[in-house]
Amino acid sequence: MLKASGLSIEVAGRSLIEGLALEVERGQCWALLGRNGTGKTSLLFALAGLRRPHRGVIQIEGRPLADTPRRELALRLGILLQDEPADFWGSTLDYVLLGRFPRSRTAFAPDTDPREQAQRLLVELELAEHLTQPYRTLSGGERQRARIAQLLMQDPDCLLLDEPLQHLDLRHQLTVMQALAARARAGRALLMVLHEPTAAARFCDHALLLYHAGRIPQGPTNELLTQENLESLYQCRIEPVSAPGIQAFIPR
């Protein structure tokens, strides 16, 4: 589905990623973990076609991103950005409906049925009571869920998410991860930057660990997310705690 080969990324003359090869298939859910400043967001931007990589090729369904028209690319690839202006004037529902843009035929013929779909997404992300509330008056966590609802409204084949759990309380972290895992089960490909290895171990089937100096091991989460790997990744002591069906990691 999404394939990168020989990918190198530099930011301000500093090499962050060198020669990365990556293949994200339909139905897979990938976690991208790493310390601050290792190039997670830059990698996501490159994979989304928003920044040209220094070297390498990125393809979606066998077609280079650079050769794919913007609107067609938006049907294949969508991204949740880490930061976004919060001064949108419309309601939460209006905001989510903007995700429909790549599928609307022209600016003059807005579709009418997506309202129902947007409302369902807002219910799924527990924002139903904020439907008509101005988006800019939502709290940080509510805005984050509205932004995720907009990405789900866009419904691309491959979803890239930069820190989907930021600003969210524990209950809504669970709501969001369950919603995202359901999209993977439905055949979408997901790659998300996470700072929560516990969530990665629980909801993602693959992981990519981004070290300084460009070492980028990848593989199934149950093999890669070990105490030793995480301690070396985050440069701190980490204690694994097991509960039924869950592997948690606690920094010490």
Partner: protein, 319 residues
Amino acid sequence: MKPSAWLIVLAVPASLLWALWQGSVDIPARDLLSALGGGGDEVTREIVWGLRAPRALSAFVCGALLALAGALLQVLLRNPLADPFILGVSGGASVGALAAMLAGAALALQHLFALAGAALAAAAIFAFSLRPSGWNAYRVVLAGAALSAGFGAIVSLLLTLAPAAQVQGMLFWLLGDLSGAKDPLAAWVVLALAALAAQTQAASLDILTLGEDKARSLGVAVTSVQTLVFVAAAAATMAAVLLGGALGFVGLVVPHLLRLVGYYGHRALLPLSVALGGSFLAAADALARSVAAPIELPAGVVTALIGVPTLLYLLLKLR
């Protein structure tokens, strides 16, 4: 359509009718209507069709162009205080026209110089702001502020050098004044083209409020949309400035008023800006002609006197 939208649409014929009615000669409403229908006496017909109609249509089109340009620039620059004159177009036009006046050029040549000055200013802003990676809003604002300051200095210099008799005529370019506006046809053509071009991009403009990266990821061809809309805004501003001078506050206040009453989506905001901006200036100009008759106030003074308190009120209301 919301009731307030109907009110704004109705304000178009209402403001134009009022502008045709107001003036130094009192015309009873019945005579006005019969003159509009081609009847009545010749003098009344000449006043209505020959004098007041071109003036009312000029005022309307100037207001519509400025409000459209303001609405477009506020979203493109992501700056609520952006107004049409941020592109330095009015400064460029003033310098061109004043230089031509000082050189003793004929009126037609003055307008040609004003057009050249405005076009040069817009071209300079574009050259400073368009990069291979796309438009840079900060550069537009900073280059616009720098150019406007530069043009302001040149205007002051020209006014200092000008003979006292010429200074009065020069004020037109600085204050905004519709008393010389007699042929609004070109401005109406620009309005039609700019409004149509902008309307085709209404949905993309909604998405651009989320930032350029998000807009790209949702399939908006950001640089092309920005270029088309910048050109439309610059053309609209130029057409308005050449017809009516630097008429302040219409472009700044009208789009904000509409957003505050709930028209934030550009499909509605853009056409309603045209309708409300046009009606506002047509009515303001009629007021300017009648309030201290037979003295005519410059319309820019009336728009500023209404616009300043409105803007301050909006600032209080905005969180």
